[in-house]
């Protein structure tokens, strides 16, 4: 397993209560983190009946929270423990977690707390997990919107349920459903326009009310806070909780070295594992964003990783071809294959498009606060609405061109199919 290497701080290890402090900070910094007691005891896999099950399920749930790409409060959060455990296993596997023992753990939460602890540490070593979770759950005080499309492309949403058609589907039903979708879409646009109009009004009417001169006016949350003091109290409490977690994260960063040394001992108590038959991927340590020099290191490592992935994919594909070469050669099979390949190509194309466009002026990602300003002065990190609108319009034009091209291809394909059937007259619908 990869390990963080940092300068050894002799003073930290010498303090008696250092480890419990570190674990306590970690526990406070994670959302609904398990108590420090659970962490400590997880090291020992002894089946102490009740407590083992408790701490194992607590750790499964924590891992689920960390690995789930969707924000809290989603329907996924109410899944049963078995389902959560299963998802954790597959997520870890797809990220390249090396220890087989985790994959073999029972999903009912009856044992394996030590393996779960190791998995959690592995995740902590790979990336700034507490900070990421904090960013996910942050309380936005301003009215925000995102300008880049990366998030939309990267997280495709929950997997669509796979439906088998029971028989031939009447095309009129499909048209009906498309029509409903289009109406919903138009209503969404109208609602967004309404929201914009109202936001604009609020920003206009509250000019001069904000204590921060650079902002100048209130956001919806702030105006609501003034209107409803009770709601304001609740907002205050939420912000205080957020502050506490932030402090916990800072404390964790100060004391984590002690934790890592303790984790070495945990790893030591495990039996040595025989590496799996598949290749042993290397693990890239998380590089903190601290300066230009480190970026080259990252780029080189990314290239190495890409090379490695390519080889692994080739090997996998060869193995799969060998296994599946004999079966399913019917027309539905190749049609399904073609369809899925086209879908992947399209998504890749969209990703590349987005990348190409963003490689222009470096625009910061993530949400931006909307501020209305009369004088037109903008700070160095600010984006002007006019520029954003221009970029979005050009992206829209690009996408529309792609849509028209695809529609043309569809029409040609239809005409070709129709031409192949003798005696059929093709009347296209009246064009808009």
């Amino acid at each position: 397993m990869g390990r963080r290497r940092q300068r050894v701080d002799p003073a930290a290890g010498a303090r008696a209560g250092a480890l419990p402090e570190a674990i306590a900070a970690l526990s406070r910094s994670l959302p609904s983190g398990p108590s420090p007691e659970i962490f400590r005891r997880a090291k020992f896999d002894r089946p102490e009946a009740v407590t083992l099950a408790q701490r194992t399920s607590a750790l499964w749930q924590l891992l689920f929270r960390v690995l789930s790409p969707l924000p809290v409060g989603n329907a996924l959060a109410s899944l049963a423990l078995e389902a959560q455990a299963h998802l954790v296993k597959s997520a870890l596997c797809s990220q390249g977690y090396p220890r087989l023992a985790l994959a073999q753990l029972p999903e009912d939460g009856s044992q394996g707390s030590r393996e779960l602890l190791l998995a959690l540490s592995w995740l902590l070593a790979r990336g700034p997990v507490p900070e990421q979770m904090l960013a996910q759950a942050r309380v936005p005080l301003g009215d925000e919107m995102t300008v880049c499309q990366c998030e939309a492309l990267a997280s495709p949403g929950p997997p669509a349920p796979h439906m088998e058609a029971e028989g031939p589907v009447d095309v009129r039903r499909v048209q009906w459903l498309m029509g409903k979708l289009q109406f919903r879409w138009r209503q969404l646009v109208s609602s967004q326009q309404e929201q914009c109009a109202l936001l604009s009004k609020i920003h206009l009417y509250t000019r001069g009310c904000h204590s921060d001169q650079s902002l100048g006016h209130l956001s919806v949350t702030e105006a609501e806070m003034l209107r409803d003091p009770e709601g304001g109290q609740q907002l205050l409490q939420t912000l205080e909780r957020e502050n506490q977690r932030l402090e916990a994260v800072l404390a964790w960063r100060h004391t984590e070295l002690v934790f890592w040394r303790w984790m070495d001992t945990v790893l030591g108590t495990c039996a040595p594992e025989v590496p799996a038959a598949a290749s042993q991927p290397t693990f890239l340590p998380w590089v903190p964003e601290r300066g230009g020099g480190e970026l080259e290191l990252v780029v080189r490592e990314l290239q190495a990783l890409e090379e490695e992935l390519r080889e692994a994919v080739e090997r996998r594909r060869a193995a799969w071809e060998a296994k599946a070469g004999g079966c399913g050669r019917g027309p539905e099979w190749s049609a399904a294959r073609r369809a899925s390949r086209e879908a992947v190509e399209k998504e890749l194309g969209a990703l590349q498009q987005c990348w190409k466009q963003d490689s222009g002026p470096a625009r910061p990602h993530g949400p931006h606060r909307l501020v209305r300003r009369e004088d037109g002065a903008a700070g160095e990190r600010d984006l002007r609405a006019a520029e954003v609108i221009r970029t979005l319009r050009s992206q829209e034009a690009c996408l529309e061109a792609v849509l028209r091209r695809l529609q043309g291809q569809c029409r040609q394909e239809l005409a070709r199919l129709v031409g192949a059937l003798p005696g059929l007259i093709w009347i296209p619908p009246p064009g808009r």
Binding site: R172, Q175, G179, S190, P429, P430
Partner: protein, 453 residues
Amino acid sequence: MSIVTVQLGQCGNQIGFEVFDALLSDSHSSQGLCSKRENEAYQASCKERFFSEEENGVPIARAVLVDMEPKVINQTLSKAAQSGQWKYGQHACFCQKQGSGNNWAYGYSVHGPRHEESIMSLIRKEVEKCDSFSGFFIIMSMAGGTGSGLGAFVTQNLQDQYPNSLKMNHIIWPYGTGEVIVQNYNSILTLSHLYRSSDALLVHENDAVHKICAKLMNIKQISFSDINQVLAHQLGSVFQPTYSAESSFHYRRNPLGDLMEHLVPHPEFKMLSVRNIPHMSENSLAYSTFTWAGLLKHLRQMLISNAKMEEGIDWHVRPPLSGLPPLGKMSLNKDLHFNTSVANLVILRGKDVQSADVEGFKDPALYTSWLKPVNAFNVWKTQRAFSKYEKSAVLVSNSQFLVKPLDTIVGKAWNMFASKAYIHQYTKFGIEEEDFLDSFTSLEQVVASYCNL
């Protein structure tokens, strides 16, 4: 969310006035059979949708009035102002000094482009006044000159300039024995153009409404005003506020959007008709009581047997037995018996509305094979009674109701076209024979789609 009404031509303006009047007087009615708070929410919702506020508190209709002659518009403006309850905006109307001689082509190719700028600018101002804008409600007749040609032009413009807003055209179907010789030409041109640029066509047939006035309301000398009031009553019972779900306590924010999503998502099936029950004169109302079961039974039979009103319903018509194939494709030569629906929306208002049982409308035999009742049928229930009726039910239906009238009009227009009668009046202003042929094709397609349900 707000709806902007565009009143076109004599017909559109007269009906528009009655609609706003009916909406506002219902919202002020004291016989709502609900709590004061409920009533206030109802009033507020109705106002937000159709009216804007002025400083002195008189609601101003969210409407744009368009006509090529000033007489009707002036009458409409003054009638509204006289009511004292509401009025039209001062600068919300556009009129000229000349008519258009019932010539569709003149309205579409001459008036339209000439006055496009002014009309669209009036509409834009009205839309900008709305905090949240959901769509347009365009009232026009199908057979006249101004309303129909200009209406088709304006709707097309709205499609181009407001592609994300909803558009519902309220169309008046002319009398079968109407006065205008070229009304069938005007009708097919209007319908084919609107089918392309509008989202929903809500149709009222003059013949049907006339019968309602005669038989149900017992009016001896039926004037246009009577007819328009019946129309306004039906429209009011559709568009007044309704709850958004069985158990929620808020009025629906976007009734136009919800209605369209339920009824007209398919591009080939856009024709809607309205049936409401009960409908009677005030004198009779005082002596009548109703049950939901009775009302819904009659409404269901009206749907199935294609009846225009609750009198003279043919009770022999039955839905085909499930499991058996439908009784052949609908043939237009024989009398139409069973009316198959694409989708239906029933809106119930009044006392004990929660106890109303609409299971009869969920029968799969009523609907086409490719849409199940769970998707095809919706019901909206609201406690608050409408306009002095303790219980009222209205059905907005996307079904084969209008196939026969449509086919009749297309047939008559085709006969005229085949002998090239009056075509020169249209080609003079840029509507070529090809445009006529296009219209015939699209409408034949619509008739065929509905027949194949």
